[in-house]
């Protein structure tokens, strides 16, 4: 069971870590100062949460791997983050829509995880729920602004939607053996989360005059650590320093 929980922890912590790495690329490049601060703060929350989860994962695994070793010394085929988290930032509409998709998913997921039979996971999740509530309020308000702003902002949101939508299905792909975790009350059933998520996103996009398409091909694979071409580049940048100087201390 520990091995399964370990893998599940990697799946959720990697998603936060990779998304944090992505959005922190906006630091110093935000559209204006307040947004620069907002994204930096959100990235910080995600990094912090991933640290707690990876630290716990390392303890469960029992091989003495620290949070840093898990973050910096695994390659693509050992990363389980959702595909949507590694997609490029694009323009601000794309960054905010990606964030809205993930925030809505995470708020539902972490609310359920805060009731997990695993007490450490439940405690980390309960803390995260408070933070994700803020993230979602922020990203949702931006998506609405893009959708109802000018023709230009709407077009950008529409383009972002076409780019990102096929990667949303991957968030609901369980890892091998996840049903056992669900049965034991450790983690929620992703199918239930999917139903709620679709309703929330449908309502959001209707406000923006975007209709959800039916029967779109959905990419998948991250539950088996199969990724798009982007993850390798992200890891190469994120891991280069610790790999070049493994003994370096902050």
């Amino acid at each position: 069971m520990n091995e399964l929980v370990f893998k599940y922890l990697l799946r959720i912590s990697d998603s936060g870590l990779i998304l944090a790495q992505r959005i922190s690329a906006w630091t110093g490049h935000g559209p204006f100062l307040e947004e620069d601060l907002a994204l930096t703060n959100i990235a910080l929350d995600l990094f912090g949460r991933s640290r707690s989860l990876l630290d716990y994962a390392g303890n469960l695994e029992g091989k003495g791997r620290s949070e840093d070793e898990l973050a910096f010394f695994r390659n693509e085929r050992h990363y389980y983050n959702h595909l949507i988290c590694e997609q490029p930032n694009g323009d601000y509409a794309q960054t905010m829509l990606r964030q809205a998709f993930v925030d809505a998913f995470e708020l539902l997921l972490y609310t359920e995880l805060s009731k997990s039979k695993d007490q450490t996971l439940a405690a980390i999740a309960a803390k995260s729920v408070k933070e994700i509530t803020y993230h979602k309020r922020h990203s949702f308000s931006w998506v609405k602004r893009f959708g109802n702003g000018t023709q230009e902002s709407f077009t950008r949101l529409q383009n972002a939607f076409h780019e990102l939508w096929p990667y949303t299905g991957d968030m609901f792909e369980p890892i091998e053996g996840e049903t056992d975790l669900v049965k034991n009350g450790f983690v929620p059933d992703l199918q239930k989360i999917k139903t709620d998520w679709e309703k929330i996103i449908k309502d959001l996009l209707e406000e923006c005059n975007i209709r959800l398409p039916e029967n779109v091909y959905m990419h998948s694979g991250s539950a088996k650590a199969l990724h798009t071409e982007h993850l390798g580049f992200i890891l190469a940048e994120m891991q280069s320093l610790p790999r070049a100087y493994p003994e370096a201390k902050w």
């Binding site: 307040e34 947004e35 907002a38 912090g48 405690a123 803020y134 309020r137 922020h138």
Partner: protein, 164 residues
């Protein structure tokens, strides 16, 4: 210090001398991050909880606690981080809220339960001119725990300690 009898109040008063690294007018005790003190096998165990998951000041607070207790004669100190119950602004005392206001940071308004239902208040009292005529500029301010507001009367921007 070899006494096995733990004088919690005394130790807390020492920890009370440690300022928050980012908001130096309140102490880490007033902030509510110190959750418990226990003594096991000559080791003083200090239980702390982070304000926000990614708060970069936590490491500094841990180091400050160890340094302060070393000065007071404790050689074996263990910092134990807990997440449950999750930190809340409800733990910030009335006295500390006043200190925040005098420092120019609007303290959290109301309690967490109300915020969870109603969202953040639309207007926050300006810590400078005390006007309630303010608006939110950004949900995220200079640190993870704060939002940015602007007073529409004195026109100053100010930090608001988010209610969580």
């Amino acid at each position: 210090m070899n006494s096995s009898v733990l004088n919690k109040d005394q130790i807390l008063s020492w920890l009370h001398e440690i300022p928050d690294p980012e908001i130096p007018v309140i102490s880490i005790v007033e902030l509510g991050v110190i959750r418990d003190l226990t003594f096991n096998d000559n080791t003083l165990e200090v239980t702390i909880t982070p304000t926000y998951s990614g708060c970069p000041a936590m490491k500094q607070m841990e180091e400050d606690v160890i340094k302060k207790l070393n000065e007071k004669g404790f050689s074996k100190i263990n910092i134990n981080t807990v997440y449950e119950p999750a930190w809340t602004t409800d733990w910030i005392s009335a006295e500390a809220r006043l200190k925040l206001q005098n420092y120019g940071i609007a303290p959290p308004e109301g309690s967490r339960d109300k915020t969870a239902l109603m969202g953040e208040p639309k207007s926050v009292t300006c810590p400078r001119c005390k006007s309630k005529n303010s608006e939110m500029v950004s949900q995220f301010g200079s640190t993870a725990c704060k939002a940015l507001y602007k007073c529409k009367d004195c026109l100053e921007v100010f930090d608001y300690f988010k209610c969580i």
